[in-house]
């Protein structure tokens, strides 16, 4: 490594003007990036990691301004540069890729043209050879049939392909620094790995420096040389990857590392270093299959769900309009499994594998095309959804929803949301009685009483998750379906919520079906997992076994794609 860093940030402070006065987004941030180095910037939401990147590239929106500090790019002072000078640098000297790649590309311009725009802008190509160069860039990012894809619009490409195009645009002019802002968030794990591998290979080839901004410690560990940990606008720790994971110095770093689930971590470990006020009662030991003798709670037999297929591809045009053959798409393609009483089962797969459809059918929010669901001795699929709503079994299957902000009615207070099932399912009358029960439930999920009168937008993500859980357990269900309950939460909050769910299961004797894309998280909560791909079950087994010794090809791919750190292996 050269002695002279390519980027040095010194004591950078950024302030945002808002309605309620100014907010300090960055407070004296300093770090540097050496030539050829991959630097990870890690932190939870609101830590200021993206703001740092935008300040460096001069893309901060107008409400924000850098009020102190310097940004030195290879000897050049960026805080003093004007817009025209910065424009010259952007794309040619340093470039940036973003999350949500499909939205980040111009929707009505062919992707090849978008690469050309950058090449021509920075005089890396003339109008004559721009197209050839653009195509060779597409080839470089491993897009098949680059000649055809040159004319594709973003909506015709998958998310992973769009991110490749973004990379092609960013690297077209061979910059010296690449800033990647959560480049794989929202992509499936396997796509995630392919994308990150591509970035690593290309940047190594071009001897590029990279700043990788991510919330995922595992990913930072897998791809970075050094890591900067940020919290609330400040850098709390900077260290080489190995040092950071073997000997973290700052308590926040310790907490973050502990809360990130790895392939061998235990649920109790996640909050081992958390401040004691939210501690998890460790007395509860897991009772694996203690209720095996009581038989099956749920039996799913040959479940199929078909949706009418929408033609995405235009296949010619015939006059007069021919009635298209009824094409169907099988979202769930004949799956069968059983769930024992008190058992916790993970349902794992990438987006579109049919796991969410399955959970919707199990809760009877959706009717299956064929197949049976036998719950607690009754075939619940033999009733229509309207009939089922009046059965006693209705209250025994409840659900915790994915996005906590979308799962609570914005016009209801936390109290109202939790009271809803009490009034509707348990037919409780009298506000006094309901109030007492709601408070009891709030206490169970660790929600402070004072928060009950608040509306969802006044609650944090973790608090909203707790309200959702309280609502789900209000009617004492036997089966709780958890649909990615923690995917929208920061890792440290996720850790606490996972522990809460685990404790509630032991206390209330519920069974769980945990739907998730993250094998590591599922493993923490579930004894058994089912791996789904394209509507079918590809593997079914004990969680630890599936994770450590996957038998199916797809599972193996899935397991190996999860970025993680293992202190032992570094």
């Amino acid at each position: 490594m050269d002695a002279q860093p390519i980027l040095r940030i010194d004591n950078l402070s950024v302030r945002f003007r808002t309605r309620n006065g100014t907010v300090d987004a960055l407070k004296g941030v300093s770090f540097s990036v050496a030539k050829g180095e991959v630097l990870g910037v890690v932190g939870e939401s609101g830590s200021g990691k993206s703001v740092t990147a935008f300040t460096v590239t001069g893309l901060l929106d107008q409400a924000g301004e850098a009020c102190a500090g310097t940004i030195n790019f290879d000897g050049m002072e960026l805080t003093k540069a004007n817009e025209a000078e910065l424009r010259e640098l952007r794309g040619r000297e340093f470039s940036m890729i973003f999350q949500n790649p499909r939205a980040a590309l111009n929707p009505i311009r062919p992707v090849g043209k978008q690469i050309e725009d950058v090449l021509i802008q920075h005089a890396q190509a003339t109008r004559q050879d721009a197209k050839a160069k653009a195509i060779s860039m597409l080839e470089k990012v491993k897009i098949v049939e680059p000649y055809l894809r040159y004319w594709s619009y973003p909506f015709e490409l998958s998310g992973g392909m769009c991110q490749r195009v973004m990379i092609a645009i960013a690297l077209a002019c061979e910059p010296r620094l690449l800033i990647a802002d959560e480049p794989t968030t929202g992509l499936d794990v396997t796509t995630q790995k392919a994308t990150m591998d591509l970035i690593r290979d290309l940047t190594r080839e071009q001897h590029l420096s990279v700043v990788l901004i991510t919330h995922d410690l595992g990913m930072a560990a897998a791809y970075c040389d050094r890591i900067v940990v940020m919290q609330k606008g400040e850098v709390v720790e900077t260290a080489a990857v190995r040092d950071l994971f073997t000997a973290p110095k700052h308590p926040y770093t310790k907490k973050l590392i502990a809360a990130s689930p790895g392939p061998s971590s235990k649920l109790d470990d996640l909050t081992a270093v958390l401040d004691d006020n939210t501690s998890h009662q460790p007395s509860m030991t897991r009772t694996i299959n203690s209720g095996a003798d009581t038989g099956h709670l749920l039996e799913v037999v040959d479940l199929v769900k078909e949706f009418p297929r929408r033609d995405v591809e235009m296949t010619g045009w015939a006059w007069p309009v021919k009635k298209r053959e009824a094409q169907v798409f099988r979202a769930v393609d004949g799956i069968s499994f059983v769930l024992k009483r008190g058992e916790s089962l993970g349902l794992v797969g990438e987006s579109g594998c049919g796991k969410s459809t399955t959970s919707s059918i199990l809760t009877r929010l959706m009717d299956p095309t064929s197949g049976d669901v036998i719950f607690d001795g009754a075939n619940v699929t033999s009733y229509s959804a309207q009939q089922f709503a009046r059965l006693p079994q209705r209250m025994k299957i409840q659900m915790v929803f994915q996005d906590p902000s979308d799962s609570l009615n914005p016009r209801f207070t936390a109290q109202d949301s939790i009271a809803e099932p009490l009034k509707r399912l348990l037919k409780m009358k009298g506000s006094k009685q309901i109030d007492i029960k709601v408070e009891e439930l709030a206490e169970k999920v660790g929600l402070e009483k004072a928060l009950l009168s608040r509306f969802p937008h006044q609650l944090s993500g973790g608090q909203k998750a707790r309200v959702g859980i309280a609502r789900a357990i209000a009617a004492d269900p036997l089966l709780l379906i958890l649909d990615e309950p923690t995917s929208a939460l920061d890792v440290s909050v996720q850790a606490v919520v996972l522990q809460l769910l685990d404790r509630l299961r032991c206390e209330l004797g519920m069974s769980y079906i945990f739907v998730s894309h993250d094998l590591n998280v599922v493993r923490l909560l579930c004894e058994r997992v089912i791996v789904m791909n394209r509507g079918r079950i590809v593997e079914d087994g004990l969680a630890d076994e599936v994770l450590s010794n996957p038998k199916d090809d797809y599972t193996r791919q899935l397991v190996s794609a999860i970025p993680h750190f293992e202190p032992g292996k570094l």
Binding site: L59, L89, M96, G316
Partner: protein, 340 residues
């Protein structure tokens, strides 16, 4: 290209239900009349005999379904009935007056686009500046203006007080002869005939009513342009373009404006619909001999065939405009036809 043609074909087909819907509603409107339709259709002056004649001619003694097909069949032949007010076929009356209305409406719309689109763009690129405030004021004030009031106001100022404008009576001052008929648009016809004097006179008559319509159409177009541009400029793809150092003009026109143009174009359809309504009022204020004035005369005289013909032909005109807009959208937006 094949898929584009397929999309265009599909869009043309999609217009069919609208046309059928329009004919059905227009049929229902005639039949929903309280009382005896034959009496209404025969006009205020009709005697018993001519009422019976009308009843026969319209097939009012038959079932509704039959009546509908007779009505649709007549329409297909271009027969919209007779105007009792003027004693000529409605279709003919409308056709001879259509150019006058179109000349006025299109001039107003064209003026509005020329002013509103740049204004909206300027406002969006300089949020909080004086031009932005001006734009917001114009937009809110513009949609609040009753067109008939604006027209009268302009007449009072520019004709009565300042004397700049000619008297607000029709398309051409009585001193001039209308240009030889070619397109029916006086401005174009007089140019074709090389008669600059008539051309200037035509323009003088046209300015005030066209400005009235322009003021009315300005607001929604500027509002949409500003909103769409603001949205596009705040979008992720513009951020990407900036992150890659593209120039301001490239970002503004190739990236932001082309995307913003799509919703603006869609709005134009709606604006045109409003303009066809406003046109009626403006024609009355300026005594413009177009189909709006014709319709008002027919309304006053209870000349139903004429009113129905007017409603129907305006709707068909609007469908045609929407169709053109959608076809343009299909050509410039690759995503059209793929959603839903």
């Amino acid at each position: 290209m094949r898929t584009k043609l397929a999309q265009i074909g599909r869009r043309l087909l999609q217009a069919l239900p609208s046309v059928i819907g329009i004919i059905v509603i227009s049929f229902l409107l005639t039949r929903a009349l309280p009382g005896d339709p034959a009496v209404y259709f025969a006009g205020a002056m009709a005697d018993k005999e001519s009422i019976e004649q009308v009843r026969k001619a319209l097939g009012l003694d038959r079932s509704w379904v039959e009546q509908f097909f007779i009505y649709a069949g007549n329409l297909a032949k271009g027969d919209m009935g007779m105007s009792h007010n003027t004693g000529r076929p409605v279709a003919e009356e409308l056709l001879t007056r259509l150019p006058a209305s179109l000349e006025l409406t299109l001039t107003g719309l064209g003026l509005a686009i020329l002013i509103a689109v740049p204004l909206g763009m300027l406002a969006a690129t300089r949020p909080g500046s004086w031009i932005d405030h001006l734009c917001r004021l114009l937009v809110t004030a513009g949609v609040s203006l009753p067109t008939f009031f604006t027209g009268l106001f302009l007449i009072y100022i520019f004709y009565y007080l300042l004397g700049w404008a000619p008297s607000p009576l029709g398309r051409l001052d009585i001193l001039y002869m209308p240009p030889p008929h070619a397109t029916g648009f006086y401005a174009i016809d007089s140019l074709l005939a090389g008669d600059m004097e008539t051309f200037a006179a035509t323009l003088r008559q046209l300015v005030l009513p066209a400005v009235t319509l322009c003021l009315f159409a300005l607001a929604p177009i500027a509002r949409m342009t500003r909103g769409a541009m603001l949205g596009a400029l705040a979008s992720d793809y513009v951020r990407t373009a900036r992150a890659n150092g593209l120039t301001r003009s490239k970002i503004l026109f190739t990236y932001a404006f082309r995307n913003a143009a799509l919703p603006v174009l869609t709005t134009l359809g709606m604006v045109f619909s409003f303009l066809l309504g406003a046109n009626v009022l403006v024609e009355k204020v300026f005594s413009w001999p177009g189909i709006g004035s014709f319709a008002i005369e027919a309304l006053v005289a209870s000349d139903y065939a004429a009113v129905q013909g007017f409603v129907l032909s305006m709707a068909l005109l609007f469908v045609a405009v929407n169709l053109i807009i959608d076809l343009v959208l299909t050509l410039i937006d690759p995503r059209v036809g793929l959603e839903d």
